[in-house]
């Protein structure tokens, strides 16, 4: 576990961030560390508004970034907070943002503070809850389709300036180019991933009628799920403007089914149910783009795992999990070739 600023220093810094966002004399207590991932640390907080004079008590969560090392995260957390506000306005269930700061020194990294919403996010816990609750998986896939349609229909007016944008006329081609450049950053050759990028460039899908806000990481693991279904959509740091079909395809990658392969949409629904919910809520479903983006994002995660392994072999991390990622690349390569075969 990394040493970092002392908890009382972090708590004081978080209170400053909340005060700057307009909360009156907030007092912050850190209740615990929910997770300490490679790039983000999540803290549970209790915020007493109005200090000792006894205003509202808010259960909150702080997400503190250490660095954005993996594959193109480039938006500031302040802009990420603005984007979450836009998504909420569009009707997407989110954890409402209480404050955000790129540069509060006491906190030790860029931070976003949101309201806490009950429910698991760990994929296997989510799948266990869904198995134990008849009908909840059907409800959840319907809510996911509807939430994505609402996000994608909201347009791109007013999006933060630092939100990455794929070329509006040719988002798929721009993405394939981006994958090639990312793979160039790994010294070891990966011919299967390189072949995938070539296939992507040669089999571009139809362009979307208009660009949309794309969440970019919409999957089990980034969703709070409770007994009424979708509690909140989290982790917006990979959001960008691009092809809305990317989000729908990404949710259906085999890697995010966590072994529940009989339910290809997220491990908890059918693709037909996802499609129906999306279209009913006003989204436009394009089959060719769905298949293309499944192939592209499978390739992307293969590169992501290869990057983790590279960081181990080059000594940038001693994480056994990242070392093991090197032996998972082949799973994504298998999926990639299966997708290419079925789309050829």
């Amino acid at each position: 576990m990394s040493s970092g600023p002392k908890p009382e220093v972090v708590a004081a810094g978080l209170a400053e961030v909340l005060a700057a966002a307009g909360l009156h004399s907030p007092l912050v207590t850190i209740d615990g560390v929910a997770s300490a991932g490679a790039t983000r640390k999540t803290l549970f907080l209790t915020v007493q508004v109005g200090g000792d004079s006894g205003g509202e008590t808010i259960a909150a969560v702080a997400q503190i970034s250490s660095n954005n090392v993996l594959l193109g995260a480039s938006m500031s957390v302040e802009d990420e907070a603005k984007l979450v506000d836009l998504a909420e306005l569009a009707g997407v269930p989110v954890a409402a943002v209480l404050g955000a700061s790129n540069d509060n020194e006491s906190v030790g990294g860029p931070v976003v503070i949101t309201r806490r919403i009950d429910g698991p996010t760990i994929p296997r816990h989510v799948l266990r809850l869904l198995e134990a609750t008849p009908g909840l998986g059907d409800t959840l896939i319907g809510q996911c389709g509807a939430a994505l349609a609402q996000l994608h229909r909201s347009g791109v007016d007013g999006v933060p300036e630092s939100l990455p944008q794929l070329d509006a006329d040719r988002p798929a081609a721009a993405y394939a180019d981006q994958l090639g450049r990312t793979l160039d950053g790994i010294v070891d050759p990966h011919p299967v991933l390189r072949y995938g990028i070539r296939w992507l460039g040669q089999n571009l899908p139809s362009a979307p009628p208009s660009p949309a806000i794309v969440h970019g990481d919409f999957r089990n693991g980034n969703l709070i799920v409770n007994d009424t279904g979708l509690g909140a959509v989290l982790d917006w740091e990979l959001a960008h403007v691009g092809d809305p079909m990317e989000d729908l395809a990404y949710l259906c990658l085999r890697t995010w089914r966590f072994g529940n392969d009989h339910l290809p949409a997220g491990g908890f629904g059918t693709i037909e149910a996802l499609r129906e919910a999306y279209v009913t809520a006003g989204g436009l479903w394009r089959d060719d783009a769905f298949h293309w983006w499944m192939t592209a994002r499978t390739n992307w995660w293969g590169i992501g795992l290869a990057f983790q392994a590279r960081n181990f072999t080059e000594g940038a991390t001693a994480s056994i999990v990242h070392a093991a990622s090197g032996r998972r690349v082949v799973e994504l390569e298998y999926d990639l070739l299966s997708l290419i075969e079925s789309g050829a």
């Binding site: 011919p191 072949y195 037909e272 056994i320 999990v321 298998y334 299966s338 997708l339 075969e341 079925s342």
Partner: protein, 125 residues
């Protein structure tokens, strides 16, 4: 002259010890790490059994595909170079190329995660 248990047997025993004794006794990140190490032991056990033959087969496939007698590392670099050119430099027969890649992936997956091959494919709805 020959020590027993051999490497695959030891690796299987290490995996079983981690999975049966260590994983249940811890929680959180250490538990996850123990699970990952147990899995890596099983991968290495399979690699001891099948790794050499798989590498030889891939080398043979690539020599045919690329028309070269080089060693595996050089062959992979050469394949990457041709693919990077988008198929314009020394183009390869696409069906043959796909078959070679697919066979290589199947062999590596048989070491890394054999159950993945039998499972449902990525596009089944």
């Amino acid at each position: 002259m020959i020590d027993r248990p051999d490497a695959p047997a030891l690796l299987e025993a290490m995996a079983a010890t981690l999975a049966d004794a260590v994983v249940p006794a811890c929680e959180g990140p250490p538990q996850h790490a123990a699970r990952v190490v147990a899995n890596l032991c099983r991968i290495l056990a399979r690699e001891f059994e099948h790794g050499v033959a798989a590498t030889e087969q891939t080398t043979s496939d690539l020599r045919l595909l690329l028309g070269s007698d080089a060693g595996l590392s050089e062959l992979v670099v050469e394949l990457e170079r041709r693919l990077e050119s988008g198929g314009e430099v020394d183009p390869m027969d696409d069906d043959q190329l796909f078959s070679v890649l697919k066979a290589n992936v199947d062999r590596r997956l048989a070491v890394a995660k054999p159950s993945y091959i039998q499972d449902v494919g990525p596009t089944t709805s």
